[in-house]
């Protein structure tokens, strides 16, 4: 590797950046590690799945969730960066919501964790706006023609999460059992939730 190539090596660059920031007292390496560990292991779609299951089983919670997503989500203990203003979009038999961030990758971290690579991909970000039905079909979600598709573009302020429809035949399941059915993709709006 030439010197010029080494300067482009992101591993080397981030190591250099971290070492300088640490020496100057601007970051604590333990804090850096803690953030990494938290988002690798503790924060993720299982949080959002619990929110969805609660909304399916508690009508009053559902009303609160749709009225003020951030506050209702905080009731379950989920808050933090990128969760300051979460709006929950309810899917119904006639309206399907799907979420994108066309400019970067805004995403509701406290309920979904960090976004998957396809969400950050330029192709998804541009295509889901132009041809949402085709993109959804590629994800395996076929929507009837009479279902309206609404694409929501995240902004600097708002992060969206989809409240999927509760599948038929799940009336006997507990809240925890329901949460286990809910996937990340369903909460972004590129999948439906299936009964077990």
């Amino acid at each position: 590797m030439t010197a010029a190539q080494e300067h482009l090596d992101p591993a080397l660059r981030v190591e250099a950046l971290a070492s300088l920031l640490t020496e100057r007292g601007l970051i604590d390496p333990a804090t850096v590690e803690n953030f990494i560990k938290t988002y690798e292991k503790s924060v993720g779609p299982m949080n959002g799945a619990k929110v969805v299951a609660r909304a399916w089983t508690d009508p009053q919670y559902r009303v609160r969730l749709l009225a003020d997503g951030t506050a209702a989500i905080a009731e379950l203990g989920f808050k933090g960066p990128q969760g300051e203003h979460i709006v929950v979009l309810e899917n119904t038999p006639s309206v399907h919501h799907v979420v994108v961030c066309t400019l970067c990758s805004c995403y509701p971290w406290p309920v979904l964790g960090l976004p998957p690579s396809w969400y950050k991909d330029p192709a998804y970000r541009s295509r889901v706006v132009r041809e949402p039905r085709m993109v959804l079909a590629e994800f395996g979600l076929m929507l009837a023609d009479d279902v309206q598709v609404k694409v929501f573009d995240s902004s600097s302020e708002v992060r969206y999460m989809v409240l999927p429809e509760r599948p038929d035949g799940t009336g006997h399941l507990s809240e925890d059992e329901l949460a286990a059915l809910v996937t990340r993709d369903a909460m972004v709006g590129v999948a439906a939730v299936s009964a077990p």
Partner: protein, 161 residues
């Protein structure tokens, strides 16, 4: 939560397996390489202590992503965290935390370490010739094997949420 015995606030921390558990449940790791997670963690740490403004960072990230899209680079070369890192470098430079020259100097220093850099790395001799071991595959391949890259058109949608 209702059956978690009074640990409602932290019960979710333990829920790392099962159908809804991240980050592997949907088939991928949160980070593809250690440097990606480090770039993420450094930005979050700077944010937490108020050293950087998150909206400033986001605007630079949008600019970096836009520049990449405008460059016409092959979609195989797309790296979200490479954009993230460049945005972070620009922000810390703009904010006077780490000047661009300081960063380049440090990159040179690190690049000049012996291949088995450990304690011996104190002897910086700036001999670049011996350091070809940081094998790092910024793949130039064009095998078009990724899902969802059948379109490279760029939408110019507005960002009205």
């Amino acid at each position: 939560m209702t059956d978690s015995g009074g640990h409602a606030d932290t019960a979710y921390l333990l829920d790392t397996s099962g159908p809804a558990a991240p980050p592997r449940d949907n088939g991928e790791l949160t980070f593809a390489a250690p440097w990606e997670s480090r770039a993420f963690g450094v930005a979050l740490a700077l944010r937490e202590t108020g050293r950087i403004d998150w909206e400033d960072f986001r605007q630079l990230l949008i600019a970096e992503i836009g520049d990449w899209q405008d460059s016409g680079a092959a979609s195989d070369d797309w790296s979200y965290y490479a954009c993230w890192l460049r945005a972070l470098e620009r922000l810390v430079s703009q904010d006077g935390l780490v000047a661009a020259d300081d960063l380049e100097t440090r990159v040179s220093l690190l690049a000049a370490r012996p291949p088995d850099h450990g304690p011996a790395a104190r002897d910086h001799d700036h001999d670049h010739a011996q350091h070809d071991s940081q094998a790092h595959d910024d793949s130039q391949a064009h095998d078009d094997s990724r899902a969802h890259d059948d379109s490279r058109a760029h939408a110019s949608t507005s960002h009205a949420g």
